[in-house]
């Protein structure tokens, strides 16, 4: 369980970090995914650039009807920030479902999205929130919609030399209810299936429905058909069930030791139903 040797640098500014990463340095954030891989020697970076000491990546602030969260915010920061709990409760609730206290104390939002584990929790919420990811390199900065950021298992649109520097989520308007429901793999705590629902109900009718799904296939996604089935409805039990049944429609579900493809799809419908029901109960 001893990693290969590597060079280690811990820059204090983003500028220096981006220069080192541009030269091929490998970012190290909370280390909750990278260090286990290095110990198993599935990863053997030659130069680790520890971005954990860069204070400019550590902030949570509100601007222009959105929350801007620096990449270094830990899962615990996200789960406990009064601003996120109050204005984007779906993200805080989701963070609280990740791993355990010790993992949440070190793992970061930026590291989790960059890693793009197919069973990670955040992607479901970020899909439902239509979040934006800010990617910065030594020479450029761009903002990417979450749907374009996550490409496949452990694959994102991050280019070499780029860092995830910020995640942007909306401030929830009133009348919107949200919920994240997860079926976890008991040993690791990762999601076998996780569904985030975000629903707005006005004058008794659903006007906006967003459903993000993780764990089912190699990539997180928005369940567009289930969303469409909810819009215009009051949200009766039968309507919820009918929408939830569409959550895996057209998705090629993955299969592994823990769950077959068929079982994953079954769970997805079940957990979607729960997430929609709880989200609706919170729309008041």
């Amino acid at each position: 369980m001893i990693p290969n040797t590597f060079e280690y640098t811990a820059p204090l500014t983003l500028k220096v970090a981006l220069a080192l990463i541009g030269e091929g340095g490998k970012p190290l954030a909370g280390g909750m995914s990278l260090i286990p891989m290095m110990k198993l020697r599935m990863a053997a970076p030659e130069h680790l650039v520890d971005i954990g000491r860069i204070a400019e990546l550590n902030y949570i602030r509100e601007a222009g009807g959105e929350l801007h969260i620096g990449a270094n915010a830990t899962h615990y920061d996200v789960e406990s920030s009064p601003l996120i709990v109050g204005k984007c409760p779906l993200l805080a609730e989701t963070a609280g479902h990740i791993g355990d206290i010790q993992v949440r104390n070190r793992g970061t939002l930026g590291g989790s999205v960059a890693h793009a584990d197919p069973s990670a929790d955040y992607p479901a919420a970020l899909q439902a929130l239509e979040a934006k990811i800010v990617l910065t390199s030594a020479t450029s900065q761009r903002t990417v919609a979450v749907g374009d950021f996550f490409i496949d298992t452990f694959t994102t649109s991050l280019e070499p030399g780029e860092l995830v520097t910020e995640v942007i989520v909306p401030v929830e308007a009133g009348l919107t209810g949200t919920s994240y429901q997860k079926f976890l793999q008991p040993a690791s705590g990762f999601a076998i299936v996780g569904v985030a629902a975000r629903i707005r109900r006005e004058a008794g009718k659903i006007t906006v429905a967003r459903i993000g799904v993780t764990g089912v296939s190699g990539n997180s996604y928005r369940a567009l058909k289930a969303e469409a089935a909810l819009v215009g409805k009051a949200g009766s039990d039968a309507e919820i069930d009918a929408a939830a049944a569409l959550v895996g429609e057209g998705v090629e579900a993955g299969a592994d030791l823990h769950a077959s493809a068929e079982y994953r799809l079954h769970l997805a419908a079940n957990y979607a139903e729960r997430a929609i029901r709880v989200a609706l109960s919170r729309t008041a």
């Binding site: 369980m1 590597f6 060079e7 909750m32 206290i101």
Partner: protein, 156 residues
């Protein structure tokens, strides 16, 4: 190639030259000689290696010692106060038989402290969720939960 790190452990300053790949748990046990923190799995799952770094409970088998440079670390050896009076989580584990073989105990104590520091009167469910990252092969957890409850009571 080694790098120099300076840390404060249980109130005492230390400076050492370490290889970047040295894990914090190996640093604590083998370099500093504090063997209270245990290595159960070395794969981030059992929590036996839990220590506090700048007030946050972490798994020291999943952090490099160089990442802790400049930090203040608290290990199980530092839980009791200077006069030797045990911390209330230690009292709780003692009184409620929160251990059998004791292997998981250092980590259980450290995470229990974190649970109570953040939430002085947790429900049983909150305690069990808080202990999620720590495995015990002996007790069946019941007495550990009772120990944390006793410690919570002692704190109010």
């Amino acid at each position: 190639m080694t790098q120099t790190i300076s840390v404060t452990i249980n109130g005492k300053p230390y400076t050492h030259d370490v290889e970047p790949r040295l894990l914090l748990i190996h640093y604590l046990r083998e370099v500093v000689g504090l063997t209270g923190s245990h290595i159960g799995c070395e794969t981030s799952l059992c929590g036996a290696c839990t220590v506090e770094v700048d007030g946050r409970a972490i798994k020291s088998c999943t952090m490099f010692a160089v990442q802790a440079n400049g930090a203040s670390i608290l290990t199980v050896e530092g839980l009791a106060d200077a006069s030797g009076k045990m911390h209330r989580v230690q009292e709780g584990f003692w009184n409620e038989h929160g251990l059998q073989c004791g292997f998981c105990t250092p980590g259980m104590l450290m995470v229990s402290k974190q649970i109570l520091d953040r939430n002085p009167s947790p429900t049983e469910t909150e305690i069990r969720e808080g202990l999620d990252g720590n495995l015990c092969r002996c007790t069946g957890y019941q007495h550990i939960v009772k120990a944390v409850q006793a410690a919570a009571k002692a704190g109010v």
